[in-house]
């Protein structure tokens, strides 16, 4: 399944390492990464493919969010369709 990971919060070291490590452990393939700094806010967006992951998508999303809290970031995993629907005619 095509999905989007977004990471937002104050910029700090090791964010990409932590998030990509988590995705690797859960068999999620990263297809594209982009990031921006808005003021002191860090925003990273990853396009991922979860079809190899054995975990239920909702559970994976919850676990990733939980991991984000530990590193003080807001991390979300969302089905890509929501963005397609809202931003494409």
């Amino acid at each position: 399944m095509r999905a989007v990971v977004t990471v937002t919060g104050s910029d700090r070291r090791g964010i990409i390492a932590k998030v990509s490590g988590f995705l690797f452990e859960h068999d999620v393939n990263i297809e594209d990464i982009s990031q921006t700094i808005l003021g002191d806010q860090f925003a990273m967006i990853m396009m991922v493919d979860t079809s190899e992951s054995k975990e239920d998508f909702a559970a994976l999303s919850a676990a990733l969010e939980e991991m984000g809290k530990k590193i003080g970031m807001t991390v979300r995993l969302q089905h890509a369709d929501i963005f397609d629907a809202m931003h494409n005619v």
Binding site: V4, T6, T8, S34, T36, A43, I45, F57, A58, S61, A62, T74, R76, L77, Q78, H79, D81, I82, F83, D84, A85, M86, H87, N88, V89
Partner: protein, 451 residues
């Protein structure tokens, strides 16, 4: 394909601007549940609702997690109960309580459809049914009731209008210990729609399929936020921006509606293109109107601003969804919108202005607290005025007023949660009693005769 700015915009809409799916409502037909007795019917109704909607809450929660968008309410609407209990109307309360029990066990917040459609005349069984409404609303938690008293095709049933004034007052009296809360769950309609996902007026029309998923979207905060970026734009550009924003909001609703219907084995019904406020700051329709340049909602210009907003929401939404319906437009409930509450508390918006606003928007006089000693005939007259607006303009109108027991102008009622709080507003003191007592049917307007 979307880009990173699209992603961040969606995240901001959800996190900062209160974008959410306001309700996923499953419509369930109760017609197969009619049995020989009230007791057997109540049991069949309970079983059917439990079976049809058993996965509703879980599915909505799963979708919310997967798509990352809050789904605030999960609800059920059913066939108007007066049809199901026509053979034993005095015992309709049994069916009402069975529905309320099912709603509690399903974990949904409201179940709508303790309803009757009497727009062309009140049958004997319907009259008995209507008299059970105060009892059932005062002894249940989640059940909602609605009555359709008029339509553009048939005119206004003034005998039913007269009766509903008394029923609203009786419902308030029986829930006096909760500021008349029962009346927050009772809507009187003209031109009621059969696929409305919003409470308290939802019911499942007899023309509908067995089980249907209807979705109501929201997002006043998103529209207000978008308008902040064009403070000096003219109203053509403002309308264009509202359209674009409504499109995005509605597309999220369409996606959730189709997926929910698929997973629940139900038909996709409609998306209701609504701007539904909540009492939270940043989630107010009134504040959109103020963003457009009004000092306070209720001042002159409010009706025009609302007309523009309502139309733009519809135009943006229609393109975003394959099937639209329900009430569709901006809601202006007083107690459920922080901007409305503040304006009403300051005496800056009146019942008369709200009535004018209902000529150009979705619903009607909604969640308005009025003095507890308001006569039944005055409530009937308020209903008649709203019904006339709906009948002549070919639109849905409704009245959901709360005659707050023991309270007078300046006092406040508080229901908590999404139902919010409201100051008690003055009603006109003139007596419409004779007009209401005449009864009969106000004939349908000439322009409704299209056959």
């Amino acid at each position: 394909m979307f880009n990173k700015f699209d992603v961040l915009e969606t995240i901001d809409m959800i996190e900062k601007e209160h974008l959410d799916i306001r309700t996923v409502t499953m419509g369930v037909s109760l017609l197969p549940c009619i049995r020989a007795t009230a007791k057997e019917t109540a049991a069949a109704v309970y079983d059917r609702v439990m079976k049809s909607a058993k996965d509703l809450v879980k599915t909505a929660n799963d979708l919310s997690r997967e798509y990352g968008i809050p789904i605030v309410n999960k609800r059920v609407s059913v066939t108007p109960v007066s049809l199901v209990t026509a053979a034993f109307p005095a015992e309709s309360v049994l069916v009402g309580r069975a529905l309320d029990r099912a709603a509690g066990e399903l974990g949904i917040d409201f179940l709508g459809g303790y309803s009757a459609l009497v727009h062309k005349g009140t049958a004997d069984y319907e009259e008995v049914f209507l008299r059970t409404i105060p009892e059932v609303l005062s002894t249940t938690q989640r059940l909602c009731s609605s009555v359709n008293v008029g339509s553009s095709k048939s005119g206004i049933n003034m005998d039913a209008v007269r009766m509903m004034g008394e029923i609203v007052l009786d419902t308030a009296a029986r829930t006096a210990d909760r500021d008349g809360l029962g009346c927050a769950k009772l809507v009187v309609f003209c031109n009621a729609v059969e696929d409305n996902p919003f409470m308290a007026g939802a019911f499942h029309g007899v023309g509908e399929a067995d089980t249907v998923i209807n979705v109501g979207v929201s997002g006043p905060g998103v529209v207000q936020h978008a308008l902040k970026f064009i403070p000096d734009a003219d109203l053509t550009d403002a309308a264009e921006l509202i359209k674009r924003t409504a499109f995005k909001i509605t597309r999220a609703g369409q996606l959730i509606a189709k997926e929910a219907a698929k997973r629940l084995g139900a038909r996709f019904g409609i998306v209701d293109l609504s701007l539904a406020p909540t009492p939270a700051r940043g989630d107010s329709v009134a504040h959109i109107l103020e963003e457009l340049g009004l000092e306070v909602v209720g001042c002159h210009g409010t009706t025009a601003a609302l007309a523009m907003l309502n139309d733009a929401v519809k135009k943006g939404g229609v393109m975003a969804s394959s099937r639209v319906g329900g009430l569709s437009g901006a809601f202006i409930p007083v107690s459920e919108d922080i901007g409305m509450i503040e304006s009403a508390t300051a005496g800056k918006i009146t019942l008369e202005k709200l009535e004018a606003m209902t000529c150009v928007c979705s619903v009607g006089l909604d969640m308005i607290a009025i003095p507890g000693d308001t006569p039944a005939s005055t409530i009937s007259a308020i209903i008649a005025d709203e019904a006339a607006i709906g009948m002549v303009n070919n639109k849905t109108t409704a009245v959901r007023v709360i005659p707050a027991p023991g309270k007078k102008v300046g006092d406040e009622v508080s229901f908590g949660g999404l139902l919010g709080r409201a100051p008690v507003m003055p009603v006109h003191g003139g007596d419409a009693g004779k007009f209401i007592r005449r009864g009969g049917l106000i004939p349908a307007p000439i322009h409704s005769f299209k056959n």
